[in-house]
Amino acid sequence: MRILLILCVLLAWTGGALGQDERPIGLVKTASGEATVLREGRRLTALPGLGLALGDVLATGSRGSLGVILRDDTVLSLGPSSQIKLEQFVFEPAQGNLGMVLRVTRGLIEYLSGKISKLAPGSVRIETPVATLGIRGTHLLARIEP
């Protein structure tokens, strides 16, 4: 009985640890020129195949560009001298937890919405220094001049 209890506790514990989602939230698909991912103070070169984490800042230099796909099928690209932070990304359709916030600091951005926006219209926001964009399942281009 005691052993069973310990086993259960152990299972719950490892289950909890696995439940903490540490899978990448996306993937770099295209990169050219100076294209970087800023993560916890480190500057990573954005090469196709690099996994993305919550809080990553995608940034390009004056001749750089970068394209990524997120786990909910959102597709994003950055033109030159552009910067965007993956500020919030919640994609747990089974639990009904959905939401996304992208923070664009400057530059040229293309955004094609994925499943979060389709399953929960109104749960996706793009924040910029000049305005807030409320997204309902769509495809847009933005040039942000801070």
Partner: protein
């Protein structure tokens, strides 16, 4: 005549100072934040109708809900102007670097299984080669397989069946030579039917796996 040289010098100095000052003024002007407004453009979504974007700041709100509509935003407090419909060509010119960097959208496939089995129906099995090719063409690709069951059997049994179905698809794709950069298999059991049915109902369209190649 004696005083002419210093006076000339004075004049020259004065002109020089003026030129320097105006030079300073223009260079300071160009350092100031760009006067270009920010722009938001709504694009068509493939063959789907466009969605909607609400653009708001302290100055006001604009809604875009038709393809190629745009708003300009003069600054953080400036009222978003428009919406104005732009020429497709002009937009493509102005945004060409970001359009060129845009990855192709993910590709989706649906595969169907025999009753209570991880074996694919023949027409679904025939799709595997094409999926493996898609994974190769999109390399480095992320592969996601979500398995489902119909409502026959318990929640727990169908969850496990969904997992086995997802793993079986991933294995068959690997044996076709597919090498995704990352792989994610999961199950929704009987919780997310394609065709809603009463409990304990055999339904071929719910015995499926959803494959996404990103």
């Amino acid at each position: 005549m004696k005083g002419a040289a210093p006076r000339c010098l004075l004049l020259a100095l004065f002109l020089l100072a003026g030129a320097l000052l105006s030079g300073c003024a223009t260079s300071r002007k160009s350092v100031q934040p760009s006067a270009r407004p920010s722009v938001i453009v709504l694009l068509p979504e493939g063959d789907h109708p466009s969605g909607e974007v609400t653009v708001s700041n302290a100055g006001g709100t604009q809604v875009l809900n038709r393809s190629w509509q745009s708003v300009e935003i003069p600054g953080t407090r400036g009222r978003p102007s428009g919406p104005v419909v732009l020429e497709q060509k002009a937009v493509q010119g102005a945004f060409s670097p970001v359009l060129a960097a845009m990855p192709a959208p993910p590709v989706h496939f649906l595969l169907y299984f025999k009753l209570d089995s991880t074996e694919l129906l023949p027409e679904s099995h025939a799709l595997l080669t094409g999926i493996a090719t898609t994974i190769r063409e999109r390399s480095p690709a992320q592969l996601s397989v979500v398995g489902h069951g119909d409502s026959v059997g318990s929640v727990r049994y169908n969850y496990q069946l969904g997992l086995r179905r997802a793993a079986a698809v991933a294995d068959r794709l690997a044996s076709q030579g597919a090498r995704p950069a990352s792989l994610e298999t999961s199950s929704r059991g009987k919780a997310d039917p394609q065709v809603p049915t009463p409990d304990q109902t055999p339904e071929p369209r719910n015995r499926r796996a959803e494959v996404t190649v990103r």
